[in-house]
Symmetry: C2
Subunit: 209 residues, 2 copies
DNA sequence: ACACATCCATACCGGTTGGTATGATTCGAT
DNA sequence: ATCGAATCATACCAACCGGTATGGATGTGT
């Protein structure tokens, strides 16, 4: 329990910055707001981070990346039936989604859309996460092929790319519609797509409305 | 050819605003940059648009919406085999994509991600476009069902939602990776998904690398 | 030719932004 | 106990933002 005070304030700043960036994006994220949320002042922030830019990169590395690692990458890596686990992760996300999470959207996706064309450092870090994600799903699918859950003729690399894309797309559209229902419906379709990669491809029943 | 001078300058502002918003998003779009690109000054801009907010809405209505109408909605509406046309539209987008279009991403998607949680007026207009898009694809799929191109048990409404989502997701991921190749690969997968809604579902050959 | 509205340039404003310089206080090692 | 480094508060700054007020120029209808 060697949680030094200094590390605590750094973490407070980091998570307040994440929240502010999640709400307003990086560029519109206000240093003043972040400090207001923490009760700290500029002296504290600029002691730990030399510039807003550095703070943004730290949020990506230490909040977003680590969050995805725990929520997605590790479960996929450690699962015995990773394809089933993939479907479960989607299911969990769909179930736990609420108005707030949908309104603000996927933090990773938000930053990608905003910052990739503007800042090389942001883009590089976000791309790394994206590729790790694609790789995790690809591994899951390839393991699924050995377990006869995925057809042998499936191009797992391309399918993994598409799953990540569609996943972020579902977030995006649901965010715009501000509708949890839309998100769940969309994720269901994505699950159906994954199932369609299996043998006996016809998925589940029609699900009108 | 009744192109009055006043309408021309209004259009110049409108398209410069679209470009600036496409590059930097709405909030970070600088009035000064827009005016710099056009060679005009604030007097001109605020003569036609009472506020930046109004200008942003006009860009959505008169540039983005109308662009999609011509590029997607109308072709789908007027095609005799709308499902084939849908695949063709994707194909065209994939072929004509270049480094610049990929770097900046889909204008509609960009604005959705940025503005939907922040501004009700933006969100409402963007949602309308999104729903029109979903409707256009849904109609195409349902016509496809009557033409035996789409299986009868497919939920066309849900599938249309997913296609729009995945479509935007492909843009988003390719934008981050800044890779035209990624975009094309992703669109190919989306085309495969559409084909998988048809009879004899197994799509095309495996396509490694 | 006169009056009036349209069109647009110029100058200016208050507010907010990220960033810095300085200094007070606390902590930690010796 | 003492000294130095780490930690953070305060005050301040130049740059930029969107927006406004004013006025000159250019049609346009009568």
């Amino acid at each position: 329990m060697d949680t030094k005070q200094s590390d605590l304030t750094r973490d407070k700043i980091l998570h307040a910055a994440f929240d502010e960036m999640h709400r307003n994006g990086f560029q519109a994220a206000s240093i003043a707001n972040i400090l207001g949320d923490t009760g700290l002042t500029k002296g504290a922030l600029y002691h730990y981070f030399p510039a807003k830019h550095t703070l943004g990169l730290a949020v990506i590395d230490e909040v977003i990346r680590e969050g995805l690692e725990e929520m997605v990458f590790r479960p996929l890596r450690e699962a015995e039936q990773p394809v089933t686990e993939l479907l479960n992760i989607m299911q969990r996300k769909a179930e736990y989604a609420n108005d707030d999470t949908i309104r603000l959207g996927c933090p990773l996706n938000n930053l990608m859309q905003e910052m990739s064309p503007l800042d090389e450092a942001f883009k590089a870090r976000l791309t790394l996460i994206l590729k790790a994600w694609q790789k995790a799903i690809r591994n899951a699918l390839e393991t699924g092929q050995r377990q006869r859950q995925i057809r042998a003729d499936v191009d797992c690399e391309a399918a993994a790319l598409f799953i990540v894309s569609a996943w972020e797309g579902c977030w995006g559209v649901a965010k715009n519609m501000q509708s949890v229902k839309t998100f769940r419906l969309c994720i269901t379709q994505l699950q159906d797509y994954v199932l369609s990669l299996g043998p006996r491809s016809r998925p589940r029943n029609k699900q009108t409305q």
